[in-house]
């Protein structure tokens, strides 16, 4: 990749993050306030209203939501990025993958702040740091690859099938419930549990909970498999964007 393209991605990410600050009164505070409000909502529904909470429900829910929020925002923002930037793509020759990459990076930086806050909350509520924290690095890298792959995949198709825009949000709501974010997939009966486990987010969120709550090392074999799947999807999606780019500029405006 050419240097100025890489520089463009980083500078646009900076511009994107600046935009968030400029677009609201509270600016960066929303990065933390928004997930906090979301956590409060789910806590209210599952622990107070329906009493379906497991022991340790608060840390369980917090970790799931923080990991999911990163995935979801990357896919929604990245997935629309090429479509949103079509006027620019018609004017200048740039690799189209630049646009979703910027969104994913911006969401990843926001996630870093939220993760730091999550760790502080966990330490204060009786889940101190432990040696298995080392495994956070591979788990988070795999989640980054998987989220990027999904974002690129949507991003490559939305310009040609703009109707997909209306589908992404709904798919993500269903996917959230199937990813064990708000309830444990361990409580689901046998054939379904294995089917749900095909969703990479289930394994990733479980691994995160194991590490952060119980100091448990992740299942390395399962993780290696997820890593291979994510890398494959990532490359396929990038290839798809490159192959479809000539069509984006010729689509009816």
């Amino acid at each position: 990749m050419k240097l100025h393209i890489l520089e463009l991605i980083f500078f646009s990410t900076y511009a994107e993050l600046r935009a968030e600050r400029a677009r609201s009164y509270l600016g960066l505070i929303w990065w933390l306030l928004e997930p906090a409000m979301q956590m409060a909502t789910y806590y209210f529904v599952f622990a107070v209203v329906t009493h379906t909470s497991t022991p340790d429900f608060i840390p369980f829910l917090l970790i799931g939501l923080v990991a999911w929020q990163w995935f979801k925002s990357s896919v929604t923002h990245g997935g629309l990025a090429i479509w949103y930037n079509l006027p620019l793509i018609r004017q200048v020759k740039l690799p189209a993958a630049v646009f979703p990459s910027v969104q994913i990076l911006a969401d990843t930086i926001k996630f870093a702040f939220i993760l730091a806050l999550l760790l502080v909350v966990l330490w204060c509520t009786g889940y101190p740091p432990n040696g298995a924290y080392v495994a956070l690095i591979p788990v988070l890298i795999i989640e980054f690859l998987f989220a990027s792959a999904m974002a690129y995949l949507f991003a490559s198709l939305v310009p040609l099938l703009p109707d997909l825009r209306f589908v992404i949000d709904q798919v993500l709501v269903v996917a959230m419930f199937l990813s064990g974010v708000v309830f444990s997939t361990a409580s689901i009966p046998s054939p379904w549990r294995e089917i749900l486990a095909l969703n990479p987010m289930v394994g990733l969120i479980d691994s995160l909970r194991g590490i952060l709550m119980h100091g448990q090392w992740p299942d390395w074999l399962a993780l290696a498999r997820l890593c291979a799947v994510s890398i494959a999807l990532y490359l396929i999606a990038l290839l798809l964007i490159a192959r479809l780019t000539p069509r984006y500029v010729k689509r009816a405006a």
Binding site: H4, E7, A22, L88, R90, A252
Partner: protein, 239 residues
């Protein structure tokens, strides 16, 4: 004889007309051949919808041919676009960097040229304010100053871009004129035949997506003006 920078052989470009299944395709370019040699200053003339801008974007590499063939030497080729990718909440300085990166400059090069951009745009202290506070004229002054920093091997220009008030118009027009006569290869689209005659050495007349005539600028312009369609329209409508 030097190698041509770009050559097109019977190139056609089709757009889809509607977002429907089985929608018709519209051929904006039917069949165009041309050769661009180093130092050429090529003018594109033709009526509205003849495919001039489409051809320009094809040479720029933004559009890929649906039929025919395009060959390109390893050269940089830039469509001159003002205010490319500008974001309202960013300062003039940050927008200059962002736009420069999109136009193919490296970060280091743009930062080195920021004083020249500030100087040419005459923005003063406004350079570090968000461009949402700018007037239209200020934004286009900044856009022009950034675009002038890019030095591609082939410069593609869609209509003369003189911007701002009378004084800046004169200054930007002069800068662009100097640029076009500095030995750069130029492809220039305009409805203004006088401007084409002033700037270009060769001309291509596009008619309904086909190359009607390609040759020396005087010869092509003379034939273009003689065309009954063109002279009738030219008298009624001048853009």
């Amino acid at each position: 004889m030097s190698q041509p920078l770009v050559s097109l052989e019977h190139v056609g470009i089709a757009f889809s007309t509607h977002l429907r299944f089985g929608a018709q395709r519209y051929w904006a370019l039917e069949d165009v051949s041309l050769t661009l040699n180093p130092g050429d200053r090529l003018g594109l003339i033709g009526r509205n919808g003849a495919g001039k801008s489409t051809l320009l974007r094809t040479i720029a590499g933004i559009l890929t041919p649906d039929r025919g063939r395009i060959r390109r030497a390893t050269v940089s080729c830039q469509l001159l676009s003002l205010s490319l990718g500008f974001l309202p909440h960013l300062s003039g300085r940050d927008n200059a960097v962002l736009s420069g990166l999109m136009l193919g400059l490296q970060y280091r090069d743009i930062v080195r040229r920021l004083p020249a951009i500030l100087d040419f745009s005459e923005l003063g202290d406004f350079f570090d304010e968000p461009i949402s506070t700018y007037s239209t004229g200020m934004t286009s002054r900044l856009g022009f100053s950034v675009a002038m920093q890019v030095e591609p091997d082939i410069l593609l220009i869609d209509e003369i871009l003189s911007v701002g008030d009378a004084e800046f118009k004169e200054k930007s027009g002069r800068a662009l004129h100097d640029r076009m006569h500095s030995g750069t290869t130029v492809v220039f689209v305009s409805h203004d035949e006088k401007a084409i005659a002033r700037v270009c050495s060769r001309a291509l007349w596009l008619d309904h997506g086909r190359d009607a005539m390609y040759g020396g600028v005087d010869e092509v312009l003379a034939a273009y003006e003689r065309d009954p369609d063109v002279s009738a329209v030219g008298a009624a409508k001048h853009e």
